[in-house]
Structure formats: structure tokens, C-alpha cells
Point group: C2
Chain length 697, copies 2
Amino acid sequence: MLEHFFSPSSVAVVGASQKPGKIGHDILNNILRYGYSGAVYPINPNAREILGHKAYHNLASVHYDIDLAVIAVPPAGVMDVVEQCGKKKIDSAVIITAGFKEIGPEGTRLEEELSMRARDLGVRIVGPNCLGIVDTASSLNASFAAGMPLPGHIGFFSQSGAMCVAILDWALGENVGFSRFVSLGNKMDISETEMMLSMAQDENTRVILGYLESIEDGQHFMKAAREVTKTKPVIIIKSGTTSSGAKAASSHTGALVGSNHAFCAAFEQSGVIRAESTQELFSYAMAFANQPLPKGPGLAIITNSGGPGILAADACDRSSLHLIPIRKETADRLREFLPPTASVYNPIDIIGDAPHERYEKTLEVVLKDEMIHAVLVLLTPTAAVDPEAVARGIVELAADVDKPIMTVFMGERRVRGARKIFQDHSIPTYGYPEDAIAAMDAMLSYRRWRERSEIEYQRFEVDRSKVRKIFASVIKQHRHDLIESEARRILKTYGFRLPESRIARTTKEAVKAASEVGYPVVMKIASPDVLHKSDMGGVRVGIENEAMAKDAFFHITSNMQLRQPRARILGVMVQEMISQGREVILGITRDIQFGPMIMFGLGGIYVEVLKDVAFRIAPLSVEEADAMIRDIRSFPLLRGVRGEPAADIEGIRDALLRLSQMAIDFPEIIEADINPLLVCPEGRGAVAVDARITIQE
Amino acid sequence: MLEHFFSPSSVAVVGASQKPGKIGHDILNNILRYGYSGAVYPINPNAREILGHKAYHNLASVHYDIDLAVIAVPPAGVMDVVEQCGKKKIDSAVIITAGFKEIGPEGTRLEEELSMRARDLGVRIVGPNCLGIVDTASSLNASFAAGMPLPGHIGFFSQSGAMCVAILDWALGENVGFSRFVSLGNKMDISETEMMLSMAQDENTRVILGYLESIEDGQHFMKAAREVTKTKPVIIIKSGTTSSGAKAASSHTGALVGSNHAFCAAFEQSGVIRAESTQELFSYAMAFANQPLPKGPGLAIITNSGGPGILAADACDRSSLHLIPIRKETADRLREFLPPTASVYNPIDIIGDAPHERYEKTLEVVLKDEMIHAVLVLLTPTAAVDPEAVARGIVELAADVDKPIMTVFMGERRVRGARKIFQDHSIPTYGYPEDAIAAMDAMLSYRRWRERSEIEYQRFEVDRSKVRKIFASVIKQHRHDLIESEARRILKTYGFRLPESRIARTTKEAVKAASEVGYPVVMKIASPDVLHKSDMGGVRVGIENEAMAKDAFFHITSNMQLRQPRARILGVMVQEMISQGREVILGITRDIQFGPMIMFGLGGIYVEVLKDVAFRIAPLSVEEADAMIRDIRSFPLLRGVRGEPAADIEGIRDALLRLSQMAIDFPEIIEADINPLLVCPEGRGAVAVDARITIQE
């Protein structure tokens, strides 16, 4: 996939320049100097030779096949170069040139034209407005970056060229190797999803790292990520998550920035590891690129000092790792050589006078204990210890072991040499215990993601034509909001349990309906124009007998005449009243990047005041529906507290899955609420009492 | 304060040794090699000269005054040296020697004896079991650390010697200067509080940094910190905050580890800035030591690239800083020289081709805008920019400005030189935007703390002798739990409003009491032995008339005979029933380090299921009581939602303050609950419906 971008047999640099400092010069120079072995063709109508290579007038004048064109001409000339690519059957081009979508409406138009033409011609594009691409396996540096990353196993793509520059410089300083390095630019053609899929197939790439400000097609991304993460970890830092950040993002790349809820849900549902900060992105990358995943949560900490050990233990407690008690056999073996004041509990404190041999022996014993799945080695540069000797010992022991080992050597001056040794031997090393624990925790979560059972989706039999008819009639009436009876019919079609109900147009009809439905009943106004029925005095509950029913009908209808005289009134809905049950709210919203999102929370103040809600992107799997129910803080209330019966969790799950299917089946639903869904005690299901659905053509 | 420790005219090293690698050698060597100008006396009975200095048999044989003794003899010999100190009127000693409290019961006994003797002799002690102390102003390095910190403005004390070693090495690597460096060891005599107070008086110290595992006297610490933080920031990393961490802490220093709730509250109430990780401790230290505090939340970000700008904006949104819109005058001035594609919004994006001059001009304009209180300069090492030139420009502009400036130069290799320039000129520089924003945010919070009005405590008139009598009678009866009528009398004495009530011993009395109190009433068993009255069937609510009263009396008393036949029954309490009101819970608990803690939360599931509670250490100021009410997530419920009336917040505050005074007045109260306190609608106060008080002799 995208082979011509990363291992082309020949590359043309269109806009190659003789002047150092010019982008067209720097790119050509980068391609030539880092050992790329294919043919290189500088294209420049005004030069005969550039950097010792024959220059060509245009692409057509090159009488050899070209796999990849790197384009660095001014924006007005890009279209012509793409045309030339088409003619010459060059199927891959990196457009470095800026001045498109990111500069406003005019650039956006230009980019759209370019995009259509390239598609017609069959030319795939990375960019425009990007730094270029690098592949260390083929020694290709088709970018104007200052430097070439070392070969390694991290594939990185970035929507920001600056992040490429920064990460490259950091990687060179810290000796971190990369397989591929891609600046996506405006993502006119090749998106993050395609790039991720291509890196998934690249055998040199073990970890995929990304910096994103937006996602082009959220559903496609999730589907792809779910596949990729089965074999390779994908770690992404998503910026523009807050309103200020999003504002900065849109002014900068013209990207549509999705809500943070949607991103959280999407990443969680597709196994993408989210880095919360730049620092985390780097820490995680170091861990995942070089270490096996832990087989379980059991962590041992080896330290020569108490303080850092406690800090690490604190961080461990906040993670899903488990600082397991060292079992007797292992403790006994440790006691054989450790001084009596050492602690063989966890953290294992081999105390301040520990020389490197003590570190080695301890690590050796600990690694042999199969209850211990991962090891963190802490070192404080005491007078007794030679940090570099310890580092060499760890490197040697780590070589034959299928357990992740991380190191934190506190300080700076005295541990620099040791850090270098770790970097050279791909042992992750961190400045602070907290960072190491966070990285190990991410590895454990990823391992669990990989081990989870295959996702299962449940499909319900639904006669969709019924729903289609209702929507058609609503649209015909130039409405967007469904009235309750329409919403009820749709829910019924999707298999929701509804309370018994009748529409009554007169007092007499109301009394009849109530006796049919059975007291107690609820009465509600039925009108396409009244959305917040309670607020308008359009709802009465707990109607116990005929007299109350008459009274309720009178008051509801007169309230409407008084408060919303222009509302079209279809009657009053007389409904079975379900008394025992917990109110929950289910909803559908649409995210601009990920599409249908399902919302869940407990009714009333839990959603409104405490904002105690969970979101997932539809379609929901059975496991995801369960997870979102458990995610809310008030979940214990559903399980039952203070002797109350447990609510029917399966009923909620069933409702969530049906709602999810509805959201997928009908993209015209832009908003829906089931509020409340009354959840009966365990085993007795849930009833959708009221619903609101809004559609768009 | 503690002057002889930090600027002694003469120092004796007891246990000085000729052998390199021995602690007694390294300390002497450190004192001699870093330029300490006072007299130095090695003490060693077996040497005539050490490191070129005449050695003495013992302290008595030195015929000059000695200000400070540094003791590094084996544990069994320490007592004798302290005796010698007493005889020679040496009032200050650092005990390096380990083998005391940290090794178990025997060491604890030895330490206690030593402590008593030192106090009798008037010898103040740092340690034992410590690394030593350093004061850069007097060039004194009385420690066995490998190196001497550069002079600077950070005072650091640490309960862990390892953290001293690590921080010293980090500081030397990063060019960070210190005023003082103290390893507190076992804190046998001089505690963190005294050390903090001494650093507060030291003119070279601008920021006080601490690593703590425990606090010796929480109330004393808070009082001192509240004073110190008026003029100097105190930043503390407290480890052992989680159960694993605490377990590691106790096995390591034998310190009692307080609950995290208590520490959070104590730090917040005394203005101490809490570092959540080692990294934060360092970041904050760099910021506070070298930069003025921001005068307000207005932050401007200057960047040459979008991505890092967005990351910084995201971090800003999560903080209390405000990424203010750049006002027109400033934007116009920026537009005069910035290229058209630059963004003069905030972040100000001066784009990738910005040379150092553009950085300088932009920073100059931004610094002149008085709406902007702080500036963060971001740089990505693009080809166009010379990071060192930018750094020099910033350093120059920062010299005359009373606004904090922080820098984040992304990358590593190409920005190393620039970082060095910042370090040399005390401009805080960070690897990642998130860290810089966090440090700036901490500075803003601290500024607000300093500007807050003086704390006011409210005292209520209370006849404490009444309470004392009740406690005396309870103790006399060998009880710890007060019965309800006792608890009620105490609350009444403390000015709480209580529901009307009577004790009834017969059905007849119950009926009479109910009519006196007025229907509806509540009836509850009155017994010193029944703590959970509801669970035992000992409570009936909503009693509306005589018949119900008779029935309730019968059932409550028979339930007791059935379920808890041995309980001593004093009768049935007949109580006014308050129907309208929100249930809240107030409580007292005791923290082992900080003493009385006040708890607050909404009744029922809010406390039990959602754990939505706030804690503060008593005594509470008026502002602290208000803050803890606002702190709970469910606070909006008290303010009134969905048309419900607001609850009487002042009534809650009044109750919290009275409870706080009670906790302070009577340390024998180890636990108390007012559950529920029924809070009436605004202006109508709150009623303590039920209370539980537990005391200890």
C-alpha cells in the first residue's frame, strides 16, 4: 500500500533549486545525502544541473519511469505539474507547496479543483502544505526537514509540520529510531486512516504514532483502527480538544474539530491509545517500540532508595498495574544476598549502598518469578553505585527476557551515561517514576485490548419501510420534529416496549381511554409544536379515577390555549403509568467527524446537574453497551443500594443496542431522546415512556 | 533561626575519616573543597591529621568555640557525642548516622533516648539518618552528597536522602541554583515546619521546596505555612498518598502516613502548592524561583507553528489562565510587521519562516499590552530560525519586564544551545507546552492566594462546662458513644437548631409528647446501645395522629425486645417532623497528622454512592466553610434546580462553623455525624435532626 511513496525506484523533485535555503534545494539535497539508492531527477526549466545531477525541463522530458514526484513549485503551478504526472503515469506525488485550504476560501477552491483533477488522473497525493515524507528502510528523505531520523520501529504521521520538525529533533537528540515519518499536511487525498493502514502493513513499523487535529471520516478511521490495533499499537495525540485549542486549530488548518466526547469514545472503541500530552506521546512511543507487552498486571519495583520507590508505588496505585506482594520463594532467594536492612517487599529496596552486582542479582531473581509480569528499575545516583555498570547489567539481562523492563535513573549529570546505554539498547528510560508507570500502564491496557474477544454486534429484525414512511410524511409536512405518536410508532417498530396509550380528543374519549389503559394513568398533550410538554403545563401524572381524568383533560387543554395558543393540538395522550422503575435517559446525537453518537445517563439531576453521562459512537457492540452503562458514576444506583432492587440492566442494554441500530439505519435522525426509559426491577425489562426524534432531509 | 546550621563560624566533623569512600571522609572533604571559610575540626581519636587538617581526639580537646557538629559515628556512639556537644555548649548538630527509628523498635527506643537527652542539653538536631545540609551562601557543604549545588534561590528540604541526591544531580545537570539543601532524615528534633520557617527568613531563599512522606504536627505546619506563604511560595511533593505508596513509606521511614484527603485540605487551606509528580516539582521550582508572578490570568502565546500552539491552547483551557483575545491596538501593531498569513489572534502564530527578529518584535509589542499578564514563547526549530538568536532576544527583553515569560523550544538537538541560554539567564524553559502552562497556572493560583483577604474565624459563645459535664458522665459509665439526648444537648449548647422533642417511656407519655410537639412527628428508640436505629426497626416517621403514635410506640419497643433484647432502653423519643428541606451530612473525623477534619456532603446516595464529599481541617474560616459547600459536585442542587427553592446555604455554613469550633474545643470527640442536617429554603435556617458523637478519654 502506497509503496511508491515509501520505496520508489525513482524520484523526481519538481521545483528543485540550486540555491541552498530554498525548499526545492533542501528536498533534493535530503534525498541525495542520506543514501537513497534509486534514480533522482531534478526538474527545473532554468537549470542544467543541480547538486551534481542532470536537471530536466519538465517531467515529460525525463525518458525513464518515475515512481514518485515531490512537488515544490508555487501554488499556481501545482495543477500543471499534477497534469504532467497524469500524462507520465506517475501515480504518487507529495505536494510540499503551501497556499491551499489553510489560507481561506480561495485556497480551498484551488485545493478542491486539484483534488478532483488528481483523482481523475489517478495520482495519489500526500499534502499539500506539508514537510514531506521519510522512510528509513529505503533511506529516502523526501522532505525539507533538517536531519534524517535514525532507523527504528516507530512510524509517525502528523497533521502539523511543526510537530514533525520538533519530534525529529527530539528523536535525533534522544537516539530514538523511526521507520517512517510523514507530514500529512492538508490531507487533500491521503488521510490519517490510509496512512495508518499503510504503516500497519510496513514490516519495519512496530508502533504507529500520530498527531491529529481532525479526522476526515470518523467511522472509516474507527473501522481501520480496530483492525490495525489487533496487531500494532496506535498512539495518537489529538489536539484542539478544548474550545481555545479548537479555535486555534481551525484558524490554522481549516480542519473541523470534533467534540472531545466523540474522540474519547472513538479511541476507546477502536483500541487507539490516546496520549494526553506531548510528553506522553514520547514516553509511550519509547515503551511500545522496544519492549514486549506485559502478560499481566504484576509489577515489581527495584530501587536503591525509599523516596522514589514510594513515588512509583503511588503512581502504580493510580494505574491498573498491581504492585504484587513478592511471594515467599522469591523473597527467600533475595534474602540470600541482600543485606538485612533491605526490604524484600514491593518496592524491593536494595538500599543506598547497593553496587551494580546487587542490582543484577536482584533483577535476575525477580525476572524468574512468573507472578511478576513487568519490572521497573529505579536508581538514585548514590556514592556507592556506578550507574553505567548498572545500566550494562540491565541491558544484558533484558536481552533474553520476554517481560517489559523500564528504568528510571533519577538525576541528570551522573546518570547521563547510563541513559545513553539504555537508549543504545532500546531499554525505555525515563526521568521520573510517574512517566514510566504511565507508559507501562498503557502497555497493559493495550495488551488487554488485544486479548478481548471479537466484537459482536446484535442485529434486530426491523421493518424499516414503516419508519421510512413516517419520515417521508414528516418531511412532506415541512417538519423536523416528530410528534410523540410518530416517535412511539418508530420505537415500537424498533422493538422497544412502550406503555399502553390512546389519543383522546374529548373529555369523554379521555375517560374511555383511561379505563381501557387502566388506572393510574398519565395524560400528556399531543402536538407537533409543543416540545417541552411539562414546562407548558401539558403533563399530568398519577391520575387515579374518572374525576381526575376529566379534570386533567380540561387543565391540559386550557393550559395549551393559554400558553401556546397557536400550537396544533392533536389531542391528549392517555398513557399507562409505570410506577416502579428507575428513570434513565438514552439519546442520539451526531458528531461532525464520527457520525451517530449514543448517550446514556440516569434521569433528572444526574444528567442535568451532575453531567453524569456516557457516550459511545454507534454501532454499539454488546460489550460497548455494557461498558457505557457501567461508566457512569451513578451506576451503583442501577445495581441497587440500600435494599432497593437492582434495575434491569439487560433491559437498558437492549434499548441501547436498538437505539444504536436505529441511528445507523437512519442517518436522517440528527437527534433523539428517550426520556425517560423506565427501567423495571431485574428481569422485568424497560419501558420507553417518552421520546423525541428530530430528523433532517 | 537555626543560624548555626547554615552559617556557622566553625564546624567539627565527628567521625572524620582518612579513607575516601567513608562517609566521615566525604563530609569533611565536601566541607573543605567548596570554599567554606570558617574553621574546620576533624574529630577522630585515631588520626593526627586528616585532609591536611589537624585532627582532634574528641570535641572537648578542641580549644575553640564550635558552632556546628556533624556526627558520622556508629549509632552506639552517637549518644556520647551529643553529651560532648552539651558539655562544650555546641547547640547545633547534624546526625548523619543511620540505625535509629527506621530500623524498627530497637532503633526507635535509641532515638527516643537521644531525643530526650539532646533536648535536656539544649542541642538542636537535624537527622539522624540523613545526608546532611548545604548552604550555598556560606559555601558550606556539610553532606556526603556527590557535588555542590550552584548558588541560587531555591531552598529544598527532603525527608528522603535519595531525593536529595537525585535533585542535586538534576540541578547540576540543568544549571539550577539552590540557596539551601537539607536532608531532614528521621526528623527527630527539627521538623519540616521549623525548616520551612527558617528558610522563610533566609534572604537568599525565594522559593521553598519540599519532599515529604509525613508531617509531624499538622496543625502547627498549617499555621506556619499560612504565614510563610504570604511572602514565599512553598511547593511540596507529598508521597505515600495511595495505599501502596503509604505501605512503602511506612516500611521505609517508619513515618505515619496521613490520609490524602487531609493533605489535600491542609495544603489548600494553608496556601501550599502541591506538586503531583516529581516533574511538576521541578517545573514549578524553575518558574517560581526566577519569574515574577502574573498580575492576572491574561496569557499570550507566541508561536512559529500551529500544532504546538494548539497543544498549549488546550492546556490553557484546562487551567485557570485565560488565552485572551488580542485587542485591536496590539493586533494592529503586530500586523505592521507580521506577514499576512500570520495569525494575530491568540496563539499569535508568526509562522514557520519567522527569523529571530520577528520573535523579538512580536514579544516586544505583546509585553507592552497591559491586558497581557504573562507570555509563553513557543518555538519549533524550522530551517528559517536560529533558536539561539531567539533565546538571546528573549533574554534581553525579559530583563526589564515585570511579567512572567516562559519558553518551550520543541525538540532536542537543535534547541539545546537555546535552552542553555535560558538556564543561564533564569528564564524557565520546558520541553513541552503542557508543562509550561501548568507552571504558569500554579503561579497564578499562588498570586491569588497571596491577594486573598485575611482569614477570619468566627467564634460562638458556648458554655463549654455543660458539654464537659456530659462527657464526664459518659466516661464514668464506660461508654464512648453518646445517646441521642446527650448528643442533642451538646448540639443545643453549640447553638444548633434542633427539632422539638420529648422522651416517652409509656404509650401514654408518647401520645402526650406527640400532641405537645405537634403532629406530624417522628419516633425513635432512645438507647445508648442502638447505633443504627433504622436498621433495627427503631424509627417511625410521618406519625399523623394518636392512633399512629400508639402503634409506633408499640412496634418500636417490641422490635427492640426482639432484635436487641439486651439493649438498655431509655424510652422512645418523640420528635417534631420537618418535611421541607434538603438533607445534608456534616461530620467530624480525626486525622492522625492534622487532627480534626470536618466533612460535608449531601445526604443519602450523594455521600454513600457518589462519594461526593468535601473535607477541610478545623478550625474552619468563614471562606473555607463556603468553599467546602461549593466544592461538592452536587452543589447546584443546594442552589436549587428545576424551579426548586434554593436551600439556606448560610444555615449550612453556620452549622459547619459551629461543628468546627466544637471539634477544636473538645479534642476528645473522635467522631461525630450530624445526619441529616435538614436545610430549609433560603433564609429559614437548618435543623440538626439526628446526631452521633463518639468520644475517647
